[in-house]
């Protein structure tokens, strides 16, 4: 840890951000999927802040049951309280807990970073919701978090909004317009990340546009219109009704090839700008600017093997995390992770999960 650490410290020199720590993660045999995502989350400012706060508040209940949330909170506080500025940490307890809890991540097989992120966020939501409910039954008179107390025997329980929701959750609205009576039916759904289909030589802007492009439902795909009381041809469009504070974009690089009976990695060149505005929001949220702060990169030509690394922006410096190793990189080096415009290329490092933070309304 000495050599690599000191090298990074030297590179940053007196520009080393006050109070910041840059620690690589040890790999316990194909745990790079986990390491790369955890680094991205550590440098997600509101997420780290909430987790460290959670950790501080939970110190009193030292014997509280161990779960993924407590393990992750411990890990983050361990990093942030390091005396050294750089080095390597073994996220052993977290990984053990993860493997114990989910069979999927138990094997030494190559794992999918997006699947892990999704599992982790949902798990954190579950734990926080349970805790919120727990405090309410213990202490029914008031809600300390400003959450509404669920009605005792009410059918509609107010959904609990955890800080994970506040950070990552957005709302999509699925508008369907019946082509006969023109009635628009809207159905909302929440998301913690957006999974986008990708095309060769395209941009994230264009992938988002395609995600929200109008689709016509016809033939066997007709829509049941409540007004017409029958199946009708309709036009469907997905819009972002409420953009999240942290926008996580997952590029669908692993595609199931039916004729091959297996997944194939798409190495397509998909450019992602360092600043982004969404073209597919409802009118109210047009022109909100996002800034890229982390990229989880898949390295390798196939879906079943390979490696994950991450690029992270911290205090206006870009850093490259590859398990134990942490290096400083130029902002312009981010473009070497866009993908390849040729099918067979020596470049196999491709941006896979993008993390954008909202800069507020213009």
């Amino acid at each position: 840890m000495g050599a690599a650490g000191s090298k990074l410290e030297k590179a940053l020199g007196d520009q080393f951000p006050e109070g910041e720590r840059y620690f690589g993660f040890e790999n316990f045999g194909n745990t790079c999927y986990c390491n790369s995502v955890l680094q991205a989350l550590y440098f997600c400012a509101p997420f780290r802040e909430q987790l460290l706060e959670y950790c501080a508040n939970n110190k009193s209940v030292a014997d509280a049951e161990e779960n993924l949330l407590t393990c992750l909170a411990d890990l983050f506080s361990q990093i942030s309280s390091q005396k050294k500025k750089t080095g390597v940490i073994a996220p052993k307890r977290f990984v053990q807990r993860l493997k114990k809890q989910n069979e999927l991540f138990r094997s030494y097989m190559h794992q999918d970073a997006h699947e892990f992120l999704n599992y982790l966020l949902n798990e954190l939501v579950d734990i926080l919701e349970k805790e919120a409910k727990g405090t309410k039954t213990d202490n029914e008179s008031s809600s300390s978090n400003g959450l509404k107390v669920p009605q005792a025997n009410g059918v509609h329980k107010e959904p609990i909004v955890t800080w994970v929701h506040k950070i990552f959750q957005g709302i999509l609205t699925n508008e369907t317009r019946c082509l006969r009576c023109e009635t628009v039916t809207a159905r909302d759904e929440t998301f913690l990340d957006l999974s986008l289909d990708i095309e060769q030589n395209s941009s994230i802007t264009s992938c988002l546009k395609n995600f929200s492009s109008t689709e016509t439902l016809h033939a066997e795909d007709k829509f049941f219109c409540d007004k017409c009381c029958s199946l009708q041809e309709a036009q469907k469009r997905m819009k972002i009704k409420k953009p999240p504070h942290i926008l996580v974009i997952h590029l669908k690089r692993f595609k199931y090839m039916e004729q091959l009976g297996r997944y194939k990695k798409l190495s397509y060149r998909v450019v992602f700008p360092l600043e982004l505005k969404l073209s597919n929001t409802v009118e109210e949220y047009v022109d909100i600017e996002y800034s890229l702060f982390a990229v989880v990169v898949h390295v390798g030509s196939g879906p079943n093997h390979g490696h994950y690394v991450s690029l992270v922006k911290s205090h206006n410096h870009w850093l490259f995390f590859d398990d134990e190793n942490v290096e400083m990189i130029e902002e312009s080096a981010v473009q070497t992770f866009f993908g390849s415009s040729q099918e067979y290329s020596s470049n196999t490092d491709h941006g896979y999960i993008l993390f954008y933070e909202s800069l507020g309304t213009r």
Binding site: S202, D287, Q342, S345
Partner: protein, 523 residues
């Protein structure tokens, strides 16, 4: 990016269409537009064995260089204006050199894209004659005249004979320690050092193109070298500049001695400058860069005139209209922006690319089918290329109905001194940068055509009188002949008069407003 320098492609002697390119499978060798078919004429490339570039780091820039006959008398142009072109290019280079933020573009004043409106027609007819006779040459004679495509890929600069059907370059120059990022050609360079090459190390070489062509080696010969801190290896001039105090501030530092090169340093902004362009009359300079801002400077007073932010992300390219009224920019928001010098703001967005826009250019040789000479109905044609491998062509229709949308209250417009179009001054003050526009405020344009022209992301676009030239990142160049050229052999006097017409048909004091071609914003 690309620059045109008296660009001219002579008509093909045989108009047989080329066979499908094995390097571009599935890509058509023509595209249709309302005015007819553009056909793939030639392709220029380099054998991949010549390259040792690092992936993802290639930047291709293409310029057209016109070598005149050695014995030819001095050109009829370049003297009409008040300054010398060759000293101009040096200072232009110099002023943009060494800002320490990775400039990617060099430019000659009066050379590339620098034809003044007044002299444009004579300049073009002059070079047309030269180009016409060059078709009779079957073998390229390096001592003679010719039109060359100069492009850089990876660690090399390649030179192709534009008029030969030979795909391979006639010359390659390799740089062992650094990659060439940009270059420029000045046909009027008095000392013969007409080719300027900028490296990513910050060094700049000026060489004679003819001399390079005569030499058989892969080395640069007879080069004058300028390095980053502004010193010239051969000369003893010292022109180091003081350190930049505040990198966020625009500053101009002049060299201590009048004869030193660079003569000045302009520090423009933080982050890289991705493209620069001089207006055709040489009076204004436009820059775009990483910070997403287009900035327009008055070159002689070194003052910021106006500018504005992209919708989001970096801007990658910029280009002026012939008449200096509009600037196109393209960037990471996938948009082509049309900036009006009169309004000092973005007046239209071109939506149609599926990825970043890497090259933009007005087609100054194109004349609107509606142009009747009275100047009552003017249309601009422009093109854009993107990392989506597509070429898009656009029409911008201008009406002469003088109905300012925001005439100041009280009746007569206020004119500030020194500005020819001052009735907007009260709306957007001089010397300010505009924030990113709101989506709903900007009229949208749709492309006339969109055509996939290469397999690789594109990096440059250039219009010549008889063709459209496209280049991709990997250094493949395609030359598409215009419908008029492939259908009827063009005649020089007609072509020349078109140019003359174009350059005079924009009355200075009339406010042209965007007409119905620009549809209302679609959300």
């Amino acid at each position: 990016m690309m620059n045109t320098s008296n660009g001219m492609i002579s008509a093909p002697s045989s108009s047989s269409s080329p066979a499908a390119n094995p390097q571009s499978p599935g890509i058509k060798t023509y595209f249709k537009t309302p005015e007819g078919k553009y056909k793939l004429h030639y392709e220029k490339t380099h054998s991949s064995g010549l390259l040792h570039y690092a992936h993802g780091k290639t930047v291709t820039q293409v310029t057209l260089a016109q070598l005149k006959e050695r014995a030819a008398p001095s050109t009829p142009t370049g003297t009409s204006s008040g300054y010398s072109a060759s000293s101009g290019f040096r200072s232009a280079t110099a002023r943009l050199l060494g800002t320490g933020n990775g400039n990617r573009a060099l430019s000659f004043v009066g050379g590339n894209g620098g034809g003044k409106n007044v002299s444009a027609s004579s300049r073009i007819s002059g070079s047309f004659a030269a180009s016409n006779s060059s078709t009779s040459m079957t073998n390229t004679n390096f001592d003679g005249k010719g039109t060359y495509l100069v492009f850089n890929v990876g660690d090399a600069v390649f030179i192709c004979d534009l008029n030969s059907q030979d795909k391979d370059p006639v010359k390659s120059i390799h740089f062992s320690n650094s990659n060439p990022m940009c270059h420029a050609f000045n046909p009027d360079a008095k000392d013969g050092h007409d080719l300027l090459i900028g490296l990513n190390s910050g060094d700049v070489y000026t060489v004679s193109l003819r001399q390079q062509l005569q030499d058989v080696s892969k080395k640069l010969v007879g080069a004058l070298h300028y390095n980053k801190d502004g010193s010239n290896k051969e000369g003893a001039t010292d022109s180091t500049f003081p350190a930049i105090r505040d990198p966020t501030q625009f500053t101009v530092d002049k060299a201590k001695y009048s004869k030193s090169n660079p003569v000045a340093r302009w520090h423009i902004c933080q982050g890289s400058i991705n493209s620069i362009a001089f207006s055709y009359d040489g009076s204004h300079l436009a820059t775009v860069g990483r910070d997403g801002y287009l900035r327009i400077f008055d070159f002689s007073t070194q003052k910021l005139v106006c500018g504005g932010k992209s919708y989001y992300g970096a801007l990658l390219c910029c280009s002026w209209s012939m008449d200096g009224k509009y600037i196109l920019t393209g960037g990471e928001d996938d948009l082509v922006q049309v900036w009006s010098m009169e309004d000092r703001k973005v007046v239209a967005w071109g939506e149609g690319h599926n990825s970043w826009v890497s090259g933009v250019a007005f087609d100054s040789y194109w004349s609107s089918p509606n142009t009747d000479g009275s100047g009552e109905h003017v249309m601009y044609r422009f093109g854009s290329v993107g990392q989506d491998t597509q070429l898009l062509l656009w029409d911008l229709e201008m009406d002469e109905i003088v109905v300012p949308l925001r005439r100041p209250p009280g009746g007569s417009p206020t004119y500030s001194t020194g500005s020819q179009s001052a009735h907007w001054d009260n709306v957007i003050p001089m010397g300010t940068l505009q924030p990113a526009p709101c989506k709903r405020d900007v009229p949208k344009l749709s492309p006339v055509i969109a055509h996939r022209v290469h397999t690789e992301p594109l990096s440059g676009l250039m219009f010549t009188q008889e063709s459209v030239v496209t280049a991709c990142r990997e250094g493949h160049i395609k030359i598409w002949t215009r419908p008029s050229v492939s259908e009827t052999q063009s005649n020089s006097s007609e072509a020349t008069s078109t140019i003359a017409l174009l350059s005079t048909s924009f009355p200075k004091d009339n406010k042209a407003s965007l007409s119905s071609k620009i549809v209302g914003s679609i959300i």
